[in-house]
């Protein structure tokens, strides 16, 4: 288990996510806003590339390429002196952590990756065993927020009391590296705890809480009806639990719920009462951030205006 006391707030490389940048840029700006307000020492480095996660899980990139690209990103992090890679996306998190373990333990892979670098004259990218520690150099942004939950509570401007919120923790955060989760991996409570600090009333347990969002990377495109059926199961259960706000921590889940809720409503002839956002957007709102300029809600498919009006933010 990851101990909450061991989560750093210094030297974090805020690892940009393609899915965030492309679909919900507000998640990144909200995270930066919150980190600034909480006094977290982080940097963003434009030399960092995609982690290949989406491509990897849709069978476009094989493992070696993914690992080589990860090694390159690790070098970027080390060189700028911000070695604690902090991800906005659970897939970046799992991919980087896994690649680091592989580079440390599998000499053959490490040698291959390094020989590619050397051959191409990128000696500065060479990865030596132990350059990064898979347990202590990789975090998800939500863990940083959790470690600052006391400060969030102190600084909050808006109190979301009475809001029935439900959390969807990302599979690639708590199922892939389940021994390295803050708290019980069968019942992660990171989002719930942070949301509660903002005043919301989290529905701590609901049916199918641990079910996937349904995206499954290529599955959304190749097995669309199964994928949407899973998402519907989840939305149905949330509807039964009377949830008005669903909070996630991964742009892929975000897409699946926010972009496809209207699709499901249309295709299955159902209606849902809930809206969606990322936990960083929620914390930002609670600290007083602008819903559009900072949180970027204009890029969402399920409109948030009703929710924002109800809570008195707009």
């Amino acid at each position: 288990m990851k101990a909450i006391e061991s989560i750093p707030d210094r030297k974090l490389l805020l690892f940009k996510s393609c899915m965030v940048g492309q679909e919900y840029p507000g998640v990144e700006t909200a995270t930066r806003y919150v980190f600034d307000r909480l006094g977290v020492d982080y940097c963003i480095n434009d030399e960092q590339s995609c982690c290949t996660g989406i491509g990897h899980y849709t069978d476009v990139f094989e493992g070696l390429t993914t690992t080589a690209i990860a090694a390159r990103n690790f070098a970027v992090a080390r060189k700028c002196g911000y070695p604690n890679i902090t991800c906005l996306c659970s897939t970046c998190y799992a991919i980087n952590k896994e690649a680091c373990e592989l580079l440390n333990t599998n000499t053959e892979v490490r040698d291959k990756v390094n020989s590619i670098f050397i051959e191409k004259g990128f000696d500065d990218l060479v990865y030596e065993k132990g350059d990064m520690n898979p347990r202590t150099n990789f975090y998800h942004a939500v863990e940083i927020l959790l470690s600052k939950v006391g400060k969030i509570q102190e600084e909050k401007k808006f109190d979301f009391s009475g809001i029935r919120a439900a959390a969807h923790h990302a599979c690639h955060y708590y199922k892939v590296k389940y021994l390295d989760v803050v708290g019980n991996p069968e019942n992660p409570q990171l989002i719930d705890t942070i949301a509660e600090a903002c005043g919301a009333s989290p529905v701590r347990w609901y049916e199918d809480r641990t079910l996937t969002c349904g995206m499954g990377f290529s599955q959304l495109h190749l097995n669309k009806s199964t994928s949407l059926q899973v998402t519907k199961t989840k939305l149905d259960s949330l509807q039964r639990a009377g949830v008005e706000l669903m909070i996630h921590m991964c742009p892929n889940c975000h897409i699946q719920y926010d972009r496809y809720q209207p699709v499901i409503e249309k295709e299955f002839g159902v209606e849902y009462d809930m809206v969606h956002m990322n936990i960083a957007q929620f914390v930002a709102l609670s600290l007083g951030a602008d819903p559009y300029k900072v949180c970027g809600f204009q890029t969402h498919s399920v409109p948030l205006e009703g929710f924002l009006e109800k809570t008195g933010i707009i």
Partner: protein
């Protein structure tokens, strides 16, 4: 310290054993004899010194020659050391006058070259003779043991232990924190048994035992009592107890009138939290002692409201609101911890809905519901229906004067349903590597599930029961029971369920993958029963910390050796049994409790106890009372009222850490004093030898084991046994180098026992410090940790260090 006989070796003799060729085939005994005789020493040899003829030979020679010191060259002292010790002591010789040279495991068996082996044998014997030049007699240390025992925890394990002790004549105190003894077994209703396909009534077995405890003249029963502290040492523990007030005197006849008039319903911990008890109650109807007890948290009178209804109702005037807490102090020789288990908190698995859905319960709760003294008087009902009924307190309306379950009122006439479909989920919190789970198997729960399934099938044959399991662990004869239950039509699904879901009508669905056919199944259920892991009770955790006992990673009290010392705790004189030690069923708890009683009795009756005399001894003449040695890791040393440093011989392990701390040489370990070790070094070493200082525990066994394993190493490897390498200070190492050692190796025990866990880190830091202090010579000292099977590795180290020595030579 000498006995005045420093007159050299004219009254010394050497006895060499042939060990039927084991020694004589490799060592030229005649040559050894000749050499020693030429030096004026009497030498005798015999085919088997350990035989009774061999022993007579030794005894006769001692008496005839009026000998005062003896060296025996034979097999390892760990084999026949005690025998030879006894043998020489029978002649009146102090055992400080006996030395044993290991000519077999550490000479004949490991050095195939006859000349080398013979030379080494000679050096080993010479070293022992040298040691005896200044004989240091060993004093007998004896302590009186308090002739009574304490058993903590009155479950089946504690009851069994107390009865066994008492039946064997030991006065025993049995301390129980609840108001009655009986423990968890009193709750479980029926018990499975290994030899019958039937369930027996738990209370029918337990109740007579509880009554026996109460009636036994040798047992003092202290219920509603907790342990505050324990001090002193093995054989003489001082225990401080806190006896809480019951507010009811012993004149209580348990008529139950008080409880009927008491207006305050409280949660019944015995019945898993049902509101079917009053502020004044018996824990259960067969409670021992059968005296009511007032719960001070809920009693109106005790919380400042005028009530006193019970006092008015009581015909014997037993109610006494003025009772106060009592502190009791006991002096006991031995302690048995039997503080038991509790069920794992299954709400840590929210996917199973415990605490969220009403119809999810644990096996213990099911046991209570099926118990005739339970909240439904044995009727199986859906909890959601039942709790609706029981939520309304029935204080005033309870008129059932029935003595057997006077506190447990219920009225099931109004529409409560018997569940038709029951699903049981096994291994909840057991065999679970996730955070919050336990890796071990809890051993009781497969059988408890089978038992409950069987009981339900007998009473309600229409009920459909499904058990979701990982493996069914019906060990030993229980397999017959498992077979029989299968035949009653209970369903078994192999899979760990993912989730339990509640429907609007409060019925449930269990989602599980049947891993035998890889199909996802949704099992409808009216009740879901979770087989929760067994975890140490809070009382067990508390006692472990009050008594300072080692615990395993899950908090169970750790036994000293899982096979050989299964009931000895990490402290001498404290024993453990039952589920406080590890998950187990009643059968095993009883068997283990019997053993604990035997061990405790043996400990107590061996009084006055003579102690191992190879422990620290303080020379008060040299001691400056600087207090450095009080850093003893076992707290064996302390200052007495007059400021003298004194040793508790029962606590001292003889590790020798204090000898390193004392700058004045005032503390030495008897049998391993600096002068003895220096003498042995001088006697044993030749130029270019490798010298090993070997811990007398595991490390010594490993060295002997090299011989048993037909491995070899060069004969210029010389080994000296020490209590631990902590007694080897800088001066001894320098002495070794001065007398020809090419290198010095410290061979240590691994940190595998509670004692070694403390000592090992001290030895490594001691070694590091020495290495630094020695400067250049520091590169010639080495450290090795050994395990008994690691013979090859150790022989290899010996060989390579010895070769280096030869090269230097």
């Amino acid at each position: 310290m000498t006995d005045g006989t420093t007159d050299g070796l004219d009254k010394a003799a050497v006895f060499i054993c042939h060990c039927s060729g084991n020694i004589s085939e490799h060592v030229d005994i005649d040559a050894v004899k000749k050499t020693l005789k030429a030096e004026g020493i009497s030498v005798f040899d015999y085919e088997y010194l350990c035989s009774s003829q061999g022993q007579s030979l030794i005894k006769n020679k001692i008496l005839e020659g009026n000998l005062d010191r003896v060296v025996i060259g034979s097999c390892t002292p760990s084999k026949h050391g005690t025998l030879f010790k006894k043998c020489v002591q029978e002649t009146g010789l102090n055992r400080g006058g006996l030395e044993i040279a290991n000519l077999r495991e550490q000479c004949a068996w490991v050095h195939p070259d006859r000349t080398g082996a013979t030379e080494k044998a000679l050096s080993l014997l010479r070293a022992k003779l040298k040691r005896l030049e200044n004989i240091e007699p060993l004093e007998e240390i004896k302590v009186d043991i308090a002739q009574q025992a304490l058993v903590i925890g009155g479950g089946i394990a504690g009851i069994t232990a107390a009865l066994n002790l008492a039946d064997n004549g030991i006065s025993t105190f049995l301390v129980e924190k609840d108001s009655s003894i009986g423990g968890q077994m009193a709750k479980i209703g029926k018990i499975f048994s290994p030899d019958k396909l039937a369930e027996e009534c738990a209370m029918c077995s337990l109740s007579p035992l509880m009554n026996e405890v109460a009636a036994h003249p040798k047992i003092s029963l202290l219920t509603w009592t907790e342990i505050e502290s324990l001090s002193g040492s093995a054989g003489n523990f001082m225990v401080r107890l806190k006896k809480k007030p019951r507010y009811v005197k012993d004149s209580c006849t348990a008529c139950g009138r008080c409880s009927r008039v008491c207006p305050v319903p409280v949660e019944d911990e015995f019945n898993c939290g049902y509101m079917d008890k009053k502020a004044i109650s018996l824990r259960f109807s067969q409670s021992v002692p059968k005296i009511y007890c007032i719960d001070p948290d809920y009693c109106l009178q005790l919380n400042g409201e005028a009530c006193g209804k019970c006092a008015t109702a009581c015909k014997t005037g037993a109610i006494d609101f003025s009772q106060k807490e009592e502190i009791i102090e006991l002096n006991v020789g031995a302690v048995i911890v039997a503080t038991g288990f509790e069920e794992y908190d299954v709400s840590q698995k929210p996917q199973y809905g415990y605490g969220i859905f009403e119809n999810v319960l644990t096996q213990m709760e099911l046991a209570r519901i099926m118990g005739i003294n339970g909240p439904t008087k044995g009727e199986l009902l859906r909890i959601s229906d039942f709790s609706k009924l029981s939520n309304a307190p029935k204080s005033a309306t309870c008129t059932s004067g029935c003595e057997s379950s006077s506190d447990h009122s219920s009225d099931n006439s109004s529409g409560a349903e018997t569940p038709k479909r029951i699903v049981m989920i096994q291994c909840v919190g057991s065999r679970d590597e996730k955070e919050g789970g336990n890796r071990y198997c809890s051993r009781y729960c497969c059988m408890a599930a089978l038992k409950h399934a069987s009981l339900i099938k007998k009473k309600y044959p229409e009920t459909e029961i499904t058990i979701c399991y990982i493996d069914v662990r019906a060990f030993g004869f229980y397999e017959n029971y498992y077979r029989a239950v299968q035949e009653t039509g209970v369903n078994f699904v192999r899979g760990r369920p993912a989730e339990v879901i509640e429907k609007p009508d409060k019925s449930l669905v269990v989602r599980v993958e049947d891993t035998l056919n890889q199909k996802i199944r949704e099992l409808p259920a009216d009740l879901v029963v979770l087989s929760a892991a067994m975890v140490p009770s809070p009382g067990t955790r508390k006692i472990a910390s009050v008594l300072n006992l080692s615990q395993d990673e899950s908090g169970f009290i750790k036994e000293r050796h899982s096979k050989l010392k299964p009931v000895d705790s990490s402290l001498d004189g404290i024993f453990v049994c039952g589920t406080a030690q590890s998950p187990k069923d009643v059968t095993d708890a009883i068997a283990q409790a019997g053993l604990a009683a035997v061990r405790a009795r043996a400990f107590i009756t061996d009084s006055p106890k003579s102690l191992d005399n190879e422990i620290a001894a303080i020379n008060q003449l040299l001691c400056t009372r600087c207090g450095e040695c009080l850093k003893c890791p076992f707290n064996a040393l302390s200052l007495n009222e007059s400021g003298r440093v004194v040793l508790d011989p029962l606590i001292c392990t003889g590790c020798g850490y204090c000898t390193e701390l004392c700058k004045d040489g005032a503390v030495q370990v008897a049998g391993f004093t600096k002068s003895q070790l220096k003498a042995e070094i001088e006697g044993v070493l030749e130029e270019g030898d490798m010298l090993g200082f070997v811990n007398s525990g595991i490390a010594s066994l490993t060295c002997d084991n090299i011989g048993n394993s037909v491995l070899t190493y060069p004969s210029n490897v010389k080994l000296i046994k020490v209590p631990t390498t902590l007694v080897v200070g800088r001066d001894l190492v320098l002495h070794a180098f001065k007398h020809g050692a090419s290198s010095v190796l410290f061979v240590e025990d691994p940190p595998d026992s509670p004692r070694a866990e403390v000592i090992y880190p001290l030895t490594t830091s001691h070694f590091k410090k020495l290495k630094e202090e020695l400067g250049d010579s520091g590169s010639r000292i080495y450290f090795k940790k050994t395990y008994v099977p690691n013979t090859k590795g150790l022989a290899g180290t010996f060989t390579s260090l010895a070769r280096e020595g030869e090269m230097i030579k």
